[in-house]
Symmetry: C3
Subunit: 244 residues, 3 copies
């Protein structure tokens, strides 16, 4: 099912009539340039657009749009196991309560669609193979910089994030990176984009896709967050080009 077919759907708990009763212009912008325009651009698949949107909503605790966009994500081909794992991933990258706010919505979405625990990633499963050289470099750099400042944080980052969460197979590394970068832009955490966008490219995100993530996320995280990310994204790609 495509976005086009959902054009009569409610934006979350609000109807178009609700939106119109406050702003006929906002109804227009929602229907035409946003759902009828942005979501149909070929530069990013509807499935990837849903991944970006869901990540942005969770990163910003924008619960009002979650029912609509969790449902749309499943319609656009995001698997229930992937939506589950996106929420788990963002517990660490956006904050525990952000994930819990998403759980409060997703439990209803899953219940309505009869999605049971057998379709969800188990708590523990066989992990993906580790890129040991890349992880050795990452760990050495973080430990060298901050091992004295906060040994507990440095240790948890290695053990919980890079030797565990990132290796869980329920979300492809490229999608995990897409979620992370989207959440960082959406929350205005520009200082962390350089590392994670580089990792995203290593994990298979193309420059054209990253470029379109900015086009897309401007609507959901606001233009200022997209514009503040622009010079960082530009810099990452220019440095990559020089190195290659």
């Amino acid at each position: 099912m495509t976005v086009a077919k959902k054009s009569n759907a409610r934006p979350s708990m609000l109807t178009y009539e609700d939106v119109r009763s406050v702003s006929p212009a906002l109804e227009h912008y929602t229907k035409v340039p946003l759902l009828g325009g942005l979501w149909k651009r070929p530069e990013l698949s509807p499935r990837d657009r849903s991944v970006v949107t869901v990540a942005a909503l969770i990163a910003r605790i924008q619960t009002i749009e979650m029912p609509f966009h969790f449902a749309l994500a499943l319609n656009n081909g995001v698997k229930p196991s992937e939506l589950s794992e996106i929420i788990t991933h963002l517990a660490f990258y956006s904050g525990w309560a952000n994930a819990m706010s998403a759980v409060a919505v997703a439990k209803d979405t899953f219940h309505e669609r009869g999605i049971g625990i057998d379709q969800l990633p188990p708590a523990k499963e066989k992990l993906l193979p580790l890129n040991e050289e890349a992880e050795r470099q990452r760990a050495a750099q973080v430990s060298g910089n901050f091992g004295v400042t906060s040994p507990g944080l440095v240790e948890n980052t290695t053990d919980l994030l890079f030797l565990d969460l990132w290796l869980r197979p329920a979300l492809a590394p490229r999608d995990r990176s897409l979620v992370t970068v989207s959440a960082l832009i959406a929350a205005g955490q520009m200082a962390q984009i350089t590392y994670h966008l580089g990792r995203a490219v290593d994990n298979g995100l193309t420059q054209a896709q990253a470029s379109e993530v900015l086009t897309h996320i401007a609507f959901y995280a606001g233009w200022p967050n997209a514009f503040s990310a622009l010079p960082v994204v530009k810099d990452v790609f220019e440095k990559r080009q020089k190195q290659s």
Copy 2:
């Protein structure tokens, strides 16, 4: 109706009794230095204070205070059409779900007051004249900097924001700038203040008003956001003074 006459009003869905049952001090600070002090300072009109406050609440999805402040804004002379257009404007500048959270509150405010669609700005209307030279410069700079990094974002910025949204007559350019700058400070998006504060001054916001926006917004966006904006605002006004 002035703020003074509203001093017995409920802060949003909470009564003063509720506030007192958790913090008698917070009740005092709300009644005396905030509603009885800040809102009566002559440096900014109650109407402008409401514009700043509403923008800050929407930028931060602080829904609990929206019912009180949307009603206060209308009492202070913000027209229903202007409140409608502020919400539409912040869909782009704060994020779509921020606007939708505001719609969910404003639809009740409008319904209670019998404000119908005939009092709201239409989806499409005759636009204000464009300052072609200023827009040419803006577009050239953004395109030169970021046209390769994200062509889609650059194109939407021109077509949707500067050739459409900013020219809609339902909100005066000076007020649109006031909303934008307030939302940027409230969301901690300091990197975007320089351009928009300059534009605000071009649109008629005085330095004395901008100064008082900082005094006011500290209460609604927290002291740290106001303090992080201070050096940026200082720099904008010092550079303007040198140029003149």
Copy 3:
């Protein structure tokens, strides 16, 4: 009562069954590394962990976790008068509506436990003695930098914050600093950490405790905020060491 004894408690309004129905992995991470691991580390007392957590939740309006963590804070030895004063403090440091969102939850917590107004700090009480030399320096620096840019903000900062709020005896200065620094990290307001972490150390927060605040807050404010705070915290402690 310790966290251990609360291991069967509900995370806020969600049951573990709710969490499991969306993500068995998130249930595991909540029970084992978070509540069963982080909260038991000796580097910070359960009481201080609750202060940090409550501050982070209020700074980010993460209401869904407030009922659980307000109750846990009281169980961990945070006095009702201290929880009340934390909320009042964060009205100024996070924003008025953040405090009001916390009031909406805390009034129920207090009501359920029979905590009456006699256990809460009064609106006005005898203030702690002022460190006049430190305050003279602070006021001179802020006034010199920003007295022209926003005289109203500078005046309110002195009169309402440093000659009033910070001197209220209901929260020890060290705890007030802990709340402030936690809120700044949680909200990503890195530019304000240097001053307030220095003040926190002056008020008795140790470097080991500040280090563990970063370890702890990563879970509640997300890893990116903790990592963006790391270089600032490192710099503060390195400069302190050189001076001593």
